[in-house]
Amino acid sequence: MHAWEVVIGLEIHAQLATKSKIFSGAATAYGAPPNTQACLVDLAYPGVLPVLNAEAVRMAVKFGLAIGAKIAERSVFARKNYFYPDLPKGYQISQYEEPIVGRGALEIVLDDGASRRVGITRAHLEEDAGKSLHEGLANASGIDLNRAGTPLLEIVSEPDMRSAKEAVAYMKKVHTLVRYLEICDGNMQEGSFRCDANVSVRPRGRDKFGTRAEIKNLNSFRFVEKAIQHEFARQIELIESGGRVVQETRLYDSDKDETRPMRSKEEANDYRYFPDPDLLPLQIDRAFVDSVRVTLPELPEQKAARFAAELQLSAYDAGVLSASREIGDYFEAVVAAVGAPQAKLAANWVMGELSSALNRDKLEIGGARVGPRALGGLLQRIVDGTISGKIAKEVFEAMWGQGREADAVIAAKGLRQITDGGAIAKVIEEVIAANPRQLADYRAGNDKLFRFFAGQIMRATGGKANPAQLNELLKAKLDGD
């Protein structure tokens, strides 16, 4: 595979989180019974007209600003004409030659820590189609037009990615961003965030791109990776066996892990784009753009940079903790409770215990059974020496299961750390007295036996002895007497 390089560009469709549709007042909520969220405009009844949803425009502008793109002062809605039962008007309203968002870029960080800039050619507004339903109907197809007219932002990248992993990293980056901006719920199972991948291959070192195939409707990060890998291999094999890649639309079959061409009729379409005469060109003035700009939240890079600078976190930790707005908010609430000097401790716990508990129970951070203030309270008990880090994990588990505060768990289970030097010294004396042979060996030079004594003492205190004090007193006792 060394001789070949894959070139990838993605067209991401992000469903905008507006309450109503892009050209009608019907609701956009997912999962309603078929055709209950389709009004006369969505059904394309004779005489109806589209009216643009200003909220969808605001969201598109928000995205454009977040990727540093130029917002077009004038953009145009065009009709893409084709017949299909789930396309009631016989055309889709989209933006063609004059999109609302111009050229921008995003920085992606790869697994090896290297970063790469992925250019974004454009982003434009368009309406989604309905759905054709084939299951459970004998000799018939059903049409559900609830989704018809749902606003989409189509985000078109440059062919800047050179591996399936890069493509996934870019898609994840966009996914994070649209959720940060609160313009898309990012739900991939429901199809709120999906993409088409343009894939071509070329001999490594050559400038000219190969002929590309477009893989349609990839709705998970894993499918994007697998579909691209498969397509990469397919194209190489095709070329090496003397064939040629043809420009076509392909579908990824996740069950068979292969791509295959869509019907050829589809390719023969001439969409006859022309400006939609029912909608005037969209004019966006500076004041509107400024009014959107002030609503921009702190973006992932900005948050990570702040975590690194203000809380002295490593770049890696800062990146993980800013990966989503929810994680960042949770982490900051823990820090607020435990104090900024303990940010590293907070980071370790959020990325460690909390994260594994969430994974284990398949929960999102919003559903965490230990809230950030409660976690902060627990960490406070480590900081003030009430419990050790080890005991804290036990307390955390109890908090998670029972929804109690750290102090209540500590009190109920008697887990308070023994910090009374006299009490610890007494246990040390007892343990040494009970193990004379080991004492002799230690004093003869077998240093490893220090850990044996420490372990015995911990066990005797039920793990509650303050580890630092224990070490200090034990050392003094063993070496001194």
Partner: protein, 484 residues
């Protein structure tokens, strides 16, 4: 007779309780019953509903309400959606379509208390200049039943000319109000594009379509326009600019008004038509207006430009008629493609298919630049020339049509000759300008129209000029024999 009264006189009769709206409605319904079979101006007559609406209007008036259209009967062109009433658009495709909502125009006139008598015949999907393309058969001209009334609002024009209603709604995409108004001897007003909402008006060519009025006089049209006009949040192309009081504009003297005669209109005009235009100019001069020459060098491009733009838009607008959700569906479709092909093939008539094919062609890859883009450039050129002309004149005047009404069947097999009938009216649509046609004399005992075109939103000026002309002439009061 009630049917020869103006809208203002009818409202006064209702106010004085000399007649009720129910009586008025019965009178016009009786005329429709007696006279329409020969004219075929109506697709649907909604008598029972009309009498209910009239009774409501009478109650409103009885409760102290008044209004210039309260209780006045009208006919809607069958292109406007009417809640619970078949809205066919003159097509087999929508023969079974009962609209589930009212067009904004219908809703506004309903709110004003106007009483709908029924729905007027029209060329199929408003595509035609003779009303011969209707699925419901041709409409006949009251002045000569062997002749066409013009189109596409032929039913509306014939109905008003035959005094089947005081007024009718109509639409104008390339002359569809003005041309039939001219050929039937009535007054037809096409407002500025965006002045009247298109919501609920079945689209032919969205950037050209405009709702308007066919009435007996400019004064009546002003009353109706007052109720129809205004911004509609459901139509993005409707314009949010205040609606002036058209009635109060009707009193202004014409002294100092500059009226331009378009060179491109007068060149090659049939001598008798030219004489009518000269006479109309003379009337305006006698009223104190100044007349001068004007020229729009690109105007001859308007017909070819129109026959690219309008079909392009119609080819897309009519895609929704696919047999899936409403309207005509073929019997026993084999598969999806068969459903599409036969539903559309059987549901649409020849002229509609011709325009869909033309429009599909001009938008196709490889032809788009040569046709659609060129047409857009020509359209811009024509618009710019109109704007420049209105820097020197206040109104433009010319003929509405090249000839009077022609015989049914004379041009239907020759689309290009038919299309040339719109040669004087299309320019105003391309530029979005308000225009009207008013009766201006006769050729071979058939009525002819004089057209006035104004700058954007100058409906008041146009209506006043026509009104002053109608005070000085009586062409608009002539009624075809048998319809007095």
């Amino acid at each position: 007779m009630l049917h020869n009264r103006s809208i203002g006189e009818l409202a006064a009769i209702l106010d004085r309780r000399e007649a009720s709206s129910v009586e008025l409605t019965r009178h016009f319904l009786a005329r429709i019953e007696a006279l329409n079979p020969a004219l075929n101006a109506m697709i649907s007559v909604t008598g029972a509903q009309a009498l209910l609406e009239a009774a409501v209007a009478d109650r409103r008036r009885g409760a102290g309400e008044t209004g210039p259209l309260l209780g006045i009967p009208l006919i809607h062109k069958d292109i406007f959606c009417t809640d619970g009433v078949r809205t066919s658009c003159g097509s087999r495709m929508l023969d079974n379509f009962v609209a589930p909502y009212d067009a904004t125009v219908v809703a506004r006139l309903k709110a004003a208390g106007a009483v709908m008598l029924g729905k007027a015949n029209m060329d199929e999907f408003a595509m035609g200049s003779s009303n011969e393309t209707s699925f419901y058969g041709p409409v006949r001209n009251p002045w000569d039943l062997a002749r066409v009334p013009g189109g596409s609002s032929g039913g509306s024009a014939a109905a008003v000319a035959a005094r089947l209603a005081p007024f009718a709604t109509a639409t104008d995409t390339g002359g569809s109000i003005r041309q039939p108004a001219a050929l039937t001897g009535v007054t037809g007003v096409k407002p500025t594009y965006g002045r009247v909402s298109r919501y609920g008006m079945i689209a032919f060519a969205s950037s050209l379509d405009q709702a308007g009025i066919i009435a007996r006089s400019a004064a009546d049209a002003a009353t109706v326009l007052q109720a129809m006009a205004g911004f509609d949040p459901r139509d993005s192309t409707s314009v949010d600019t205040p609606v002036p009081d058209y009635g109060s504009a009707l009193g202004a003297p014409l002294k100092g008004l500059r009226i331009g005669l378009l060179k491109e209109f007068s060149d090659g005009l049939e001598p008798r038509n030219a004489a009518l235009i000269a006479a109309a100019l003379e009337v305006f001069r006698s009223l104190g207006a100044a007349t001068l020459e004007a020229s729009l060098p690109s105007l001859p491009l308007s017909v070819p430009t129109y026959y690219v733009v309008a079909p392009a838009e119609c080819s897309s607008n009519l895609s929704r008629f696919d047999g899936v959700r409403f309207g005509y569906r073929c019997e026993n479709p084999r598969d999806l493609l068969d459903l599409y092909k036969r539903s559309r093939g059987e549901g649409f008539g020849a002229e509609v298919k011709r325009r869909i094919m033309t429009g599909t062609y001009v938008l196709s890859a490889g032809y788009f630049d040569a046709y659609y883009l060129q047409a857009q450039k020509a359209r811009q050129l024509i618009t710019d020339e109109f704007r420049a002309a209105f820097g020197r004149v206040d109104l433009l005047l010319g003929p509405t049509t090249p000839t009077p009404a022609f015989a049914i069947g004379a041009k239907i097999d020759d689309p290009v000759t038919m299309y040339l009938n719109d040669i004087y009216t299309i320019g105003a649509n391309l530029a979005g300008l308000p225009a009207l046609s008013m009766p201006g004399g006769f050729i071979d005992e058939l009525p002819m129209g004089v057209q006035l075109i104004g700058p954007h939103f100058a409906e008041g000026r146009l209506l006043n000029a026509a009104h002053q002309y109608q005070l000085a002439t009586d062409w608009h009061d002539r009624v075809a024999r048998g319809y007095c």
